[in-house]
Amino acid sequence: MNSSSLHLNLLKPTERRSSSPIRLRVMLPICAILVCAGLLCWWGMLFTNLMMAKTQASGIEEDLANKGKQHAEIIKLRDEARELKLQLEQLDYYKAGVRSVAEPLAKFAEIVPMRVQIKEMSFSPLPAQILQPPGAKAPLFGPTENVETQKLVIAGLTTKETPVVSLMESLSSGFEKLVTSERKIKSFRQDNAEAEGRKLLSFEVEYTMPERRFAK
């Protein structure tokens, strides 16, 4: 049983008032305004964040572009440095491979016998030092091999065989920096030149010079 069957209420639903101090017709617009304001704030924050993110992104992009340039420069400098380092290394190799022949040559004049006239001292030509391989940006420096060998050819005139032999014997000791013991008499023949009424002999002796090593 429901008491509503005996309830004859003359009050219309629209006339009913709330006893709550919180009135819906007041609170609803306030809440709506607050919600709208909240949404606006939220959207504002989102927009601000978006703008900040965009600004940051553009800044980062600019920074990245600058960094890219700097990076390319650094790479280029590093390549140059590496190249220079290689060149220095090569120079070090050359430095290690320096052949000091001035002293033995100065000494050589003292050991030449009286009956010998040195006409020519020549070194065999060296292989090409700088290579330019196809497609290479820069030429490759340095010798093609780590060890370089050269020949020293001593040509002259003499009156007889003995002074030449004496010269060769003199060269066998104290001239290690200039020549090795390996030698070859390339020619020994009579020359057209005369001295003291006698026909002179021309000779050519080829010495193998000490090895030139390009190493640290």
Binding site: S3, L6, H7, L8, P13, T14, R16, S18, R23
Partner: protein
Amino acid sequence: MLCLSPIGPVAKPAFLGFAIPTKALSLAWIVQRNFTVKLQLTKDKTVEIRLPGGGGSKSATDIAGVEMFSPDCDGCPAVRLIKKKKAWHLVAADVVKDPNGTLPSCWEETPHQPVWELPRAFQAPHAALAVNSSMGTFSQSTADAIVQDMMSGLDAAKAAPAASSGSKKFGIKRESQPAAPRTASKSDTPTRRPTFPDAGTSVSENGRRFVTRPMAEQGFHLYSSLPEFQTLWISRLLPEGKRPTASSIQVAESALMASVFLQPEFHAADGSTLAIFVRNEAIFFAGYKKGEPVLWLRCPSAGGINAMHTAIKKTLGVGDDLIRSVLEESLIDPRPALEPFIRPIFAQLELSLAYLSSKHGLKFDHALLMGLDAGAALWSTYAEEALRLKLIAPNPYDGLIVDKGVETADATGYLVALGAAIAGAEVSL
């Protein structure tokens, strides 16, 4: 996806809703005119949330009932009922001060709108107000007669205070006449015929406020009406934002009829009972069948308690101070004074019993006698002799748990307030 969709049997929702048609969850909400939000979780599951200030509650668990402008006492009998653990508690009962000003008797008096605040003990969220107004109507009638009454509403309302203007207090008729059902006449036929209102829906027509409820008998309705200006005046008495506010305005007789709802005897009889309400100025018979009203009749041939007291004083020659002793004690036999007074009442009661028996198949061996503060035993004795009907005079507080501090004396004076509260609560018991 957003879609607008009224859900379920919602009458005219003023609403805005959205639904998310997913397989698992369909969520929608509707704000109705009574400020409730319905969340439809699934196809069959709906959760209703009442928003504050909506006042759309269908049942109340804390309500104050107030009888306004009672002719029986100075002030307004008021009660406060609170439902705790499925039981109704009477937490306060007292006579509170009248609102400042009188119940207006015409539109011109309505601008004088007082503000009324009830004492702290009665500050429930809701208040059901039962009004004693000489311009009010509470009757049973057919739909046609009610429509006729609606058509001639304002004229009838104007005529009523004119007839009783000399003897009213707060616009209340002191010597009230039986509320004879109005009949249609050619003179008060307006151009537009009002439509019969839906049950329980309050409508305004021709300057009067009407509400109807169907009775158990087909074609008959209980209806209640008050002048529009009185209804508006009462509805604005209790200010918004302060406890309590009016959730119900009833005519006092309507609340009286509902007061039986609290009685254990009423429920023991499965809602089928006969009740006799004795008031100072009138006597009413009310019949119920399975909780539904089947009879409401103002006894046409007898006055109320005041008339009974007058008869005792005249016949036995006793003063006012001895009337209660005569009715309660056996020193003086009150039969010579009471019998002539009661006989016409029982004659009407016999007719009512015959009507209930023949029309509704209701046979009673006892009836509830309510509102009588003294002499119930004598009434019962006479009723048993005349009608073989036992009259039980229950305490109006029966069926309630009376909290400590509540004055239980003179409970009959709160019958209307109790009825207003329990009817206004709209609860199932």
